[in-house]
Each structure stands twice: as C-alpha cells, then as structure tokens.
C-alpha cells in the first residue's frame, strides 16, 4: 500500500449542488443516480464523493458514495443500495426523483484508484454494491481503449441482484481482454452453470491471474468478503503491496 500518487488539494473542497438527471433501476434494491454537477473538476476511477442532504428545517446528514462512472462520462453516476435502517441511503435509493437537488463534494481518495495507463493485468474482486468503484475502472478501461488483461470476480446473492448485469455482459463481449466471472451465492436461476459459492482461495486460484503476472488488485465489498479475499490472495502468493481494498461495512448507510 505504499506506491501511490500524491494529490494535495490546497483549498477546501467546495460543496457543489448536484441535480438528479436520470435514475437507473439497477436491481430491486439498487439504483444509480446520474448527476449534473456544475464545474465538476473530474475524478479518477475508484474515488468517492461525500453527499450531504438537508431537510426543510435545516437538519443535515452526510455519507460517502463511490463514483461508478468513468472520468470520460459527461455526468457523474453514483450507485446506491437501499439499507433499511440507514439514514441517507433509503432517501437516495427510494425517495429521490429526477430534478431533485442535494449537495456533493469531491472527488475524495487517491489510493483506491486505477488508470488505463497502467499496463499490468487488472484484477477486480467485488461483493454486492462494492462493484460500483470497480465499474468506474472498467468503464474507464473501455473508454480509453485499454486492452490489457482484466478480470472481474463478482459475488452477488442472486441473478437479479447483479448490478450492471447487461453492461458487464456487453463489456465482456468486446473481446478486449476483459473476463467477468459471476458467482451467485444464495440463489441461482435454472440452468445456471456458473460459480455458486462464496469467493474463496480455490476460486481465486482457478479463475484469477497468477502472482507471477503481478496484477493490480482492487477488492471492494462487505468487510468479510474483503478480508477473506485479501487473505486468500496473499496466501496464493500475491504481493500485499499490490492489493488495494475498500470496505463497505454494515454501517455507512
């Protein structure tokens, strides 16, 4: 976790007003918001934003969300999973309609980022909505025409819970070196021949890059998945310094 570009903003990251331009229903529990943000300074794939909501009596609440869109895209996409006991996520995932406004600032974070200039294999491991920042990387990879080997191993509960399912299939069909491996851990559709266990050392060893290829590894998902996948990859011989993690705890909603 040592080699990272340095970014030193010298002035305060301003709160900007984001306007919801489009709402994409990704799964029954997940939606993406396409946001118009005046003077957005741009971002790198993997970075996040802070979103702040204000009620009509001035009460405020803020949370962090990963950016799911490529830097090349015109509008910023955030993907939000509904967490019933949450405070901000139920609003963003159920209440918000096109035209609504809220505050946002960023981009934030400079460690969990990938650039299409990188030539080593890209090895992504996702659980649930943890796929969002990795999707920003894959969209950036496609937009930039990077054809180096890339792999996404993505764990979802069921087929209907796969976020970006059609777009991932389209990206994998480009024959540009990307492979997507889904595992469905709770429920599989009839005729499913893919993976159906939790991501484990055996799966990562069988479908993943060899440590000799020195892939750049990004893992994002619930803490337990991130911990076990990172540990498994180290045991398989991957360099801990090439593994970057982002954890979506049970809280943070």
């Amino acid at each position: 976790m040592l080699a990272t570009e340095k970014v030193q903003p010298t002035r305060k990251l301003p709160w900007r007003t984001a306007t919801v331009r489009e709402i994409i229903e990704e799964t029954p529990r997940v939606r993406s918001l396409s946001l118009d943000i005046p003077d957005w300074p741009g971002h790198r794939p993997g970075q996040h934003v802070d979103i702040r909501l204000t009620s009509d009596d001035g009460y405020q609440a803020q949370r962090s969300y990963s950016i799911a869109s490529a830097p090349e895209a015109a509008e910023l996409l955030v993907t939000v999973e509904r967490i019933e006991e949450g405070e901000v996520s139920p609003y963003l995932s159920s209440e918000v309609i096109v035209g609504d406004k809220f505050e946002l600032r960023g981009p934030i974070g400079g460690h969990f980022v990938w650039s299409a200039f990188m030539t080593e294999p890209l090895f992504l491991v996702a659980g649930g909505s943890g796929v969002a920042p990795l999707m920003a990387m894959l969209r950036h990879r496609a937009a930039a025409g990077n054809k180096n080997p890339a792999l996404l191993v993505y764990s979802s509960r069921s087929f209907d819970d796969i976020i970006y399912r059609k777009e991932l299939a389209a990206l994998a069909a480009r024959s540009d070196g990307l492979k997507v491996v889904h595992t469905l851990t709770r429920q599989q559709p009839a005729g499913w021949t893919g993976e159906k266990k939790r991501i484990d050392p055996e799966m990562l060893s069988r479908v993943g890059f060899s440590p000799k290829e020195q892939p750049r590894i990004f893992i994002c998902g619930p803490t337990q998945l991130v911990e076990s996948a990172a540990r498994a990859l180290i045991e398989l011989g991957h360099d801990a310094g090439l593994i970057k993690t982002e954890r979506f705890g049970p809280t943070g909603a």
Binding site: M1, V7, W15, A61, S64, Y91, K101, T223, E227, G249
Partner: protein, 206 residues
Amino acid sequence: MSEPPVSRGFRGKQRSSDHAARTPPGQHLVNDFPVLSAGPTPRIDLVKWRFALTDGHNKFAEWDWEQFNALPQTKIKTDIHCVTTWSKLDTEWRGVTFDDLLAAAGLDEAPTPFALMHCYGGYTTNVPVEDMLEGKAMVATRFAGEELDPEHGGPARLVVPHLYFWKSAKWIQRIEFTETDTPGFWEELGYHIYGDPWREQRYAGD
C-alpha cells in the same frame, strides 16, 4: 456560500439523539464497529512483534510483546469519530498511555514536537506530540475487554480519540519523533493534516 438546497422529502433519523452534544458536525452514531483499511490486514506473529520509539538517528526504546504487556496498563472509555462519518460512543480500550511509554523509555519529555506513526503493512500517519500527552493517546492492545482483532488493528494500535480515527494507526510498529509535521499516508492523499472532528477537518483545506 449560499443556502444549501433542501432535499425534498428528506427527514433524517438522528435529529432527536440524546447524544447530540457528543456527535461532531457531519457525524452519525453507530452501534457496530465498521472496518476501514486501505489494504489487506497484516497478520503479525506475536513472537516477532516489536514496538519502538525512534527518531531519525536513535532508537529510544523497543519492546517485544511480553515486555510491552508488562508496562503500566490503563483503561479508557471514549468516543471515536471516523472521517467516513460514523461515530461510536463509549468505546473501551486498554493499553499503555503515551506518557507511560515516554517514561518507560527514560525520556523526561518527547525529543521533538511531532511524531509519525509507522505500521506493519506500511501505513503511516502524523500526530503532534502535544496531542498525545497527558493521557490523550495510548497504544492499545485490548478493545471491549477482548484482545484487539487484527481487522481493528491488533495486536496493537494507536488510539488518539479526539482526532479522526485514521490518526489512530492500526498495527503500529514504531513512533518516529520528527522535528516537522510530516504528512502520513492519508494526509499525502488529500486528507487533513490535523483532523479535528469538532472542526470537521476531513480534507486538506477544511
């Protein structure tokens, strides 16, 4: 700046919290203990574990696990605040205060005004020495009466609860005294050099 836009229909949940006075601006209370780390959790063999106080030239003291656990132990109950906006009240830690570490190293006072924490796995973070004196910081080995989990920084982590929790370095290996305030890992990546949650110093320039 101008008034923030009202988020139509947003009510919020924690406005009536009994603990508002203990919740810094922009934070919300949680009951669980989220894990946030930039890389894999290091697995550290206690037989090989060492913890040291150093500066650019000297090693003032170094303890192995047994020696460290023989140092005076202090329990604290405190609130913690993560920059990702969660706060957790009344967390219980046990470990060795920074004051006791200095004393055990035979130092009447810290040799420099600043310190940089170095950790197993490569993480670093900077804290002014003054922010660790008089019981304000400890190297903790136990949380809520149990050994500290590796995910939460075990075997030992710094706890400086009055600053955002990224300052409370997990898997601490060495405190390096520095003449100047030297940015650590997140501080180099745009996070605030000091990180006071009550002044909402999340990012550089805040």
